[in-house]
Point group: C2
Chain length 430, copies 2
Amino acid sequence: MVRTRPLQVALLGCGVVGSQVARLMTTHGADLAARIGAPVELAGVAVRRPDRARGTVDPALVTTDAAGLVSRGDIDIVLELIGGIEPARTLINSAFEHGASVVTANKALLAKDGPALHAAAGKHGADLYFEASVAGAIPLLRPLRESLAGDQVNRVLGIVNGTTNFILDRMASGGTSYGEALQEATALGYAEADPTADVEGFDAAAKAAILAGIAFHTRVGLDDVHREGITEVTAADIASAREMGCAVKLLAICERAADGRSVTARVHPAMIPLGHPLASVGEAYNAVFVEAEAAGRLMFYGAGAGGVPTASAVLGDLVAACRNRLNGGRGPGESAYAALPVSPMGEVVTRYHISLDVSDKPGVLAQCAMVFADHGVSIDTVRQTGKGGDAQLVVVTHRAPDAALGATVDALRRLDTVHDVASIMRVEGE
Amino acid sequence: MVRTRPLQVALLGCGVVGSQVARLMTTHGADLAARIGAPVELAGVAVRRPDRARGTVDPALVTTDAAGLVSRGDIDIVLELIGGIEPARTLINSAFEHGASVVTANKALLAKDGPALHAAAGKHGADLYFEASVAGAIPLLRPLRESLAGDQVNRVLGIVNGTTNFILDRMASGGTSYGEALQEATALGYAEADPTADVEGFDAAAKAAILAGIAFHTRVGLDDVHREGITEVTAADIASAREMGCAVKLLAICERAADGRSVTARVHPAMIPLGHPLASVGEAYNAVFVEAEAAGRLMFYGAGAGGVPTASAVLGDLVAACRNRLNGGRGPGESAYAALPVSPMGEVVTRYHISLDVSDKPGVLAQCAMVFADHGVSIDTVRQTGKGGDAQLVVVTHRAPDAALGATVDALRRLDTVHDVASIMRVEGE
């Protein structure tokens, strides 16, 4: 195959990830050319503030006119690394209209507007690749979309946010409070100045929506994802988890119902047994379990964030998009044919670990047990220990619908003998 | 896209994997059609012995004429699940000549003749997919070939043979001998009647050749892979490993030299620290660590063998090949542009754990230490313990070329004071 000019790449955004993409495109240009079958060239780099240092980027390529860059007409691939909804969405749509394929790491935009973006790509015969949007460098979306394309995925269970995993890991290893661990994460650059998107689970929820959509061939929007962050997790919760041989992790969980007719997606802190491979995922690492009908249990582990690892995922997608450009093929588009209903959190079947401060007198345990029974929730284990004048009751349930578990807790709160519901956490990974 | 007839699939071999592929193609036909964009149909199933039960396969499809099936002219995809060199090779080449793409799980053939097969596929504009040839259901080759196509892989370190992992796991957990563990593996169906291919490392070596070729964009043949099996591993080796906080695993290791100018590929038992994620991979599971320049450390874990898991990988490739058929694109072909030299085992830099039975008298330790020094091998730790009239010397070296380590052991054997070199094992994964 002979091409007279290199493939033209427009880079939108030159921050933590973008600057590494630009650097690697330069240092590994010969390798990329050999693997693609034609050279690739940075045609322009759109930034908001051109005065900032851009590392190895040729200043002549830098522009503040992103809209002008993507609509030049000679761009083959647009790498969208700006993030957020706008102007990213408008730029991506313009890229498609002007004949380019797009590689993006924008989980927020994909979770919000994935179907429209895929439709735009399809209309213009372009590719939309987004491996970097979930779990950073870990090859996860391509395996799900392609390697498991002949299988039925029943569950995806993963640690997909490095910031929160770092915080929970520090709380567990150092016995520190949430606040102290967050401070450390901020000081080390793992948490942003405003950590809301991470610690409240918004980032993980966007990833859960993307993962569930791919896994179940069903559109799953952000609003379909039940979301709880880690700000309420206490050192006592983590100590309590350890007592029962568990770690606390912020999990993204996408499940097909047992009858196969509906799916759920959720993000919340959960206890998982220390023997589960996800329990030992430390620091800011990510790991995702995938359970498929034929393939069985698979795990993918690696760096979930960071400029250099995420750049690896972007460049992998760049190579794929460039190859398709040369060979005339197209990567897989949106697959939403199954169109399964997404059930609300109340219908999720899970287990609860509940810690109650109760009056230390006869009959209290029986009274609490009756509340569980009244709601159809079966108790797995119960442990009662003295605690000053009070007693502490730690109950672990069998699997039951989340709504029944929630109603049980509400009813327990109304008992005079229950002074406090000290903690509630779901138990997963068994 | 409107097609008047379903894509035609020829299945060669209907054994452990093939029968599961046929079953899943039937039970999940509607899903496959939706994901591909057109229905797929089994056009024929070639078997050696048509009298054997074939599960859900329509008897009218069964034939003993594999050559006739692949040359019918109307076959879109050939699934080669016969294994071995011939007739698999001839059938695959015939498939390409008759315009079909090929999906295969045949690691032996790929390791032996990969370049010729890729060339044949390229010549006819067909696809050659082979995800199932390494690590069964684990998506590994597609991530390496595509997701990491923009990165530089520096090392692949993995457990890629389930049979030997099962045996070593049993030896470690039960304290049993190699022979007893092999018997158990055979009884449970993990080892074949003739276990040579597994226990002597031939199977893992073929996979190492495939992995190294993909990882380093370099042709690596079977003869380039240093191979040692597990038949010499003793219960004492495993106990000794545990004493130093290690597990013994049969590892496939593909490495780029520190200067980047050459690569190596090898399969041998090695000690790895218990804290390393590969150490806790039990039973017949597989797991592969990939270290890439930008992506960092990645791990892929799952079922490495078995009919159903392997069928998942075959069907994923089938979907990809079918999509390309419809869209006019092609999957990645062979990438061997780097053409790096493959260095012999002697140039591999590794560490040795050596256990010596020596005379229990003054000066022996000094004498042995001098042998290491003479060969330029630096000692990390040495432990001397009484053992009857003799003493036992356990030495762990720092990293050194394998040739120097081997020469050191040879020289130690020649010392009068060294009665026996009780065990030698490499130490990896640090």
